[in-house]
């Protein structure tokens, strides 16, 4: 193991390490802790200039209550859910199929198509912006959740295909050959042999895509414009102009907007990290 396990070091080093650990963490999360502190303060603290002292009262429920009951926040959150969940389902479903096709079969152009998916996944969003916006407007999907979902599914298919194809490549190929010898139809091999083995990949991708899409901001402002369809990342700017300079509410609002992907991460940590670090170890 590298570096040397702390247990093998001197007592002094061990104590230093144990004290440095929480200090480093506090320092690392300092900007976030500041926002959390803001979000439980009463308004009077800000008018009195008490930004960093002890809060004069604990207003967590009052502040977060106002976020939920006096703004469009619940609506934006709901929009985010209705954008994110269909995208996850769509992109994972499509890439299970593309990954299967590219991972199992040998045919001309296989590698070319695979690399096209990878390359498309890296391009800057701006090179797609004008045509995609045009297409969305002309199909009557501008400012709808559907318009956003369709684009997200298409774009995420690139990354998901890379992921799925490499995962399927690592499966034991003998299983598929055995099924073929038995005379099992190809689509049945997909459904009954490969798909059950892909469960961990599906789980990992679902959490990752959930986070990516929930956190998307660029496409939200390009393809939607009002509380009808905007997800919370875009809605938060209107929220902030509603409560301008009321730091306690703006802080509470942005924490609310951040909670779903954070909760998802902590609940599905193993899958999340497995997905994110795929390929980091050979």
């Amino acid at each position: 193991m590298f570096p040397t396990p702390i247990q093998k070091r001197s007592r002094a080093t061990q104590v230093t390490y144990q004290t440095l650990l929480p200090l480093a963490l506090i320092l690392w999360l300092l900007p976030l802790l500041a926002v959390m502190l803001f979000s439980i303060r009463p308004l009077s603290d800000f008018t009195n200039g008490n930004y960093w002292g002890i809060p004069s009262s604990f207003d967590l429920f009052a502040n977060y209550g106002r976020v939920f009951f006096e703004s469009d926040m619940p609506r934006y959150l709901l929009n985010s859910v209705f954008i994110t969940v269909p995208t996850v389902i769509g992109a994972v479903a499509l890439s299970c199929m593309t990954g299967f096709a590219l991972g199992i079969y040998r045919f001309r152009g296989n590698l070319l198509i695979f690399f096209m998916f990878i390359a498309g996944n890296f391009v800057p969003f701006q090179i797609l912006m004008v045509p995609v916006r045009d297409l969305t407007v002309s199909t009557g999907l501008y400012d709808t959740k559907t318009g956003l979902v369709l684009f997200h599914i298409a774009f995420q298919t690139g990354f998901c295909t890379l992921f799925m194809r490499n995962f399927i490549r690592a499966l034991p190929y003998e299983l598929i050959e055995a099924a073929r010898v038995e005379g099992v139809a190809e689509w049945r091999i997909f459904w009954y042999v490969v798909l059950p083995l892909m469960r961990p990949a599906i789980a990992a991708l679902s959490v990752l895509i959930f986070t990516f899409i929930w956190n998307d901001y660029f496409w939200a402002i390009v393809l939607t414009q009002g509380p009808e369809a905007q997800p919370v990342t875009a809605g938060i700017t209107s929220f902030n102009s509603q409560f301008v300079a009321q730091y306690h509410l703006m802080s509470a609002g942005s924490i609310v907007a951040a909670i779903p992907p954070v909760a998802m991460f902590f609940a599905m940590q193993r899958h999340f990290i497995a997905g994110l670090t795929l390929g980091a170890v050979k």
Partner: protein, 303 residues
């Protein structure tokens, strides 16, 4: 018309070609419509003067000629370069934190998760968090500076500082990402080689450089890919923290493109597309390199 039995046997004979094609079709269709063909369309639009609604006029390379003399374009290009260079700091920083956390003391798993989780926050939230952190007078940064008797600074209001302030905010989640890549990599480092290194008297830096880092190569490669792509994609933080200001000093190509094509500077789709094409070409250099590396791995894997 061929008889039905013949059709079936043709399908039977060619099922190894037909099956993958059918499986590819839906995904490929989506990807071509929304990703591949828009790239070519953008190249085309960049040759027109177009407001997005009315008639488009063909003007050849005029949009690109205009770019050459555009001061905003020059600033954006320089800022992109700063982003690229400074964003790469996330890689050594991530490695450093990973080495710090690669121990087995109680609660270390929670520490790792908490160090990592800024990456899960949306860039919008990161941008807001840091713009409050930087607030003149009342922000935490200035509270700390004044506490130590230093002059307070208005990071995002100063044209010379603002870009660096935004990059620092971007480094926060990016470092977390690189950290988790390296933690995973360190987990897989071969303990026998470490032991062999120890016997040879390698310690600390020497061990890291000659024994550990070579084994972390796949992690480093991915860290490079995601950091470079992330640096060139920077948009959200700029839009949230400064909206390109003060005096346009924090613009980058992606942001300037959006401004020209969609925001208050008005609907110059052709000019915007020309900027997008330049950004795309810059990125293409890196994409080409990444693909070439992956291609080599692929070929090695086959033999």
């Amino acid at each position: 018309m061929t008889p039905a039995t013949d059709t079936r046997s043709w399908l039977q004979k060619n099922r190894m070609t037909v099956t993958p094609l059918l499986f590819l079709l839906p995904g490929l269709l989506f990807f071509v419509v929304y990703v591949i063909s828009p790239i070519f369309q953008s190249f085309n639009i960049s040759l027109y003067d177009w407001d997005g609604l009315g008639e488009a006029t063909y003007i050849g390379l005029d949009n690109y000629r205009e770019l050459v003399d555009d001061r905003a374009f020059e600033t954006s290009l320089w800022n992109n370069l700063k982003w690229l260079a400074l964003y790469l700091l996330a890689i050594p920083a991530g490695l450093f934190i990973a080495l710090f956390l690669n121990q087995t003391v109680t609660g270390i798993r929670l520490y790792k998760s908490l160090f990592f989780f800024p990456f899960v926050l949306s860039q919008v939230v990161v941008g807001l968090v840091f713009s409050w952190f930087y607030l003149p007078r009342v922000g935490l940064l200035n509270a700390v500076l004044t506490f130590f008797g230093l002059d307070s600074i208005n990071v995002l209001g100063d044209p010379d500082l603002a870009t660096y302030g935004i990059i620092a905010a971007g480094l926060w989640p990016q470092t977390a990402y690189c950290m988790i890549l390296y933690l995973t990599g360190l987990n897989a480092v071969d303990p026998e080689q470490i032991e062999a290194g120890r016997l040879d008297g390698a310690k600390g830096w020497k061990m890291l450089w000659h024994v550990v880092l070579p084994q972390l190569k796949p992690a480093t490669f991915i860290a490079f890919v995601v950091t470079i792509i992330g640096a060139l994609r920077s948009f959200d933080l700029i839009s949230i923290m400064t909206n390109g200001g003060p005096f346009g000093s924090t613009r980058v190509l992606s942001f300037m493109m959006f401004e020209q094509a969609l925001s208050e500077y008005g609907f110059r789709m052709g000019y915007g597309s020309a900027i997008a094409v330049v950004l795309f070409l810059i990125m293409l250099v890196f994409i080409g390199y990444f693909l070439w590396q992956m291609w080599r791995d692929e070929r090695e894997a086959r033999h």
